[in-house]
C-alpha cells in the first residue's frame, strides 16, 4: 500500500499537470498545421471585391528558439479560385525580422504562456496569429486565432495582394479554423 502511494506520487511529479502551460521544450521538433478561413471585403487595385480565403500554415519548432514556417493562401472570388505559391522562411523566437512578403513589413514570432504568437506588419495595419497549446490525454492539442490588426489612426489595412497589386482590406472575419500539432 505504501509502495503504491509512492508510485502514484512519482507519476504525479513526472507528468506535467493538466493545468500547467505547455512549454517550448515540450514542443521541440513539433509540427503545427493551421488552416483559417476568412470572409473578406476589400478593394483590389481600387476595385471592390468580396472573397473567401483559406490560409494554410505549417510551423516546425526547434531546435531551441529556431523555427521554420511554410504558408500558402487559396482565394475564392468572383473570378474563381486561385492558390498562391507556397512561401517558406526561418525565424528565431523573439527576434523581429524584415520580410518582403505581401509588400514588405516586419514579422516576429514569440512563445509565452503556452501560446505561439506571430505578428506581421504591413504597409498599413498588420496581422496577428495566436496558437494556444493545451495538454490532453497522451499529447498536446492546439487552437488558432488570427485576427486582422488595424493600425491606430491609419484607416484601412493595406498591403500587396498575394497575386500582386494593392489590396485594401475594408473588413475581414475569421469564419473557421483548424489546428493540429504533432510532437516528436
Amino acid at each position: 500500500m505504501r509502495t503504491l502511494s509512492g508510485v502514484c506520487v512519482l507519476i504525479a511529479l513526472a507528468a506535467p499537470a493538466q493545468g500547467q502551460a505547455v512549454t517550448l521544450a515540450e514542443l521541440n521538433g513539433a509540427t503545427i498545421e493551421t488552416t483559417i478561413m476568412y470572409q473578406t471585403e476589400a478593394r483590389w487595385n481600387g476595385q471592390p471585391v468580396s472573397t473567401q480565403s483559406s490560409h494554410h500554415r505549417t510551423v516546425v519548432l526547434g531546435p531551441g528558439n529556431a523555427g521554420r514556417t511554410d504558408w500558402s493562401m487559396t482565394i475564392t472570388g468572383p473570378r474563381g479560385t486561385r492558390s498562391s505559391s507556397p512561401q517558406s522562411y526561418s525565424f528565431t523566437l523573439g527576434q523581429p525580422q524584415q520580410t518582403q512578403s505581401l509588400g514588405g513589413g516586419h514579422s516576429l514570432w514569440t512563445f509565452a504562456n503556452g501560446t505561439l504568437t506571430y505578428l506581421q506588419t504591413h504597409r498599413v495595419g498588420g496581422f496577428k496569429s495566436s496558437i494556444a497549446f493545451t495538454r490532453r490525454a497522451g499529447g498536446v492539442a492546439c487552437a488558432v486565432r488570427a485576427p486582422l490588426m488595424r493600425e491606430v489612426g491609419m484607416g484601412n489595412n493595406r498591403r500587396e495582394s498575394v497575386f500582386g497589386g494593392d489590396f485594401e482590406i475594408i473588413g475581414s472575419r475569421q469564419m473557421s479554423s483548424s489546428c493540429r500539432v504533432a510532437t516528436r
Partner: protein, 120 residues
Amino acid sequence: MFDRSAGVIMTLMLIGLPAGQARAQAAPEAAVARCFEVIPPQGRLRVAGPILLNRCNGDTWVLVRTYGGDDRRVYRWRPVAIERREAAFRPRLRPATEAPQVSRPSGSKCFIFDGRKFCE
C-alpha cells in the same frame, strides 16, 4: 533650406496637436519654441525622416510618408513610443542594427511594433 521646412513642419504639427497638448498651445510662443526641436534625418540611423522632439516632456514624433484615405501619399507625424522615465533625456534613436521594439505581443488586443500601434 531645412530650417525653413522645419519651421513649416513645426507649425503644422503645433496646429495638429491633440487636446492633451492644449497647455503647450496656450503657452507663450518663446516657451513653446524652447520645448520643440526638429532634428534633421541622421545618415547613420535607420529613421529616414526628420524627428520632432519636445524637450520639455520627451514626446517624440517622426515624419513618415504614408497613404491617405485614397491613393494619395501624405505626410504624418507618427508618435515614437518611449518609456516615461526616459522623458527627461534625449530619446535614443534606433540604429539600423537594432531590431524594432515590440511590446505586448501576446495576451493583449493591441501591440506596438516599431512605434506603430495595432489593435484588433
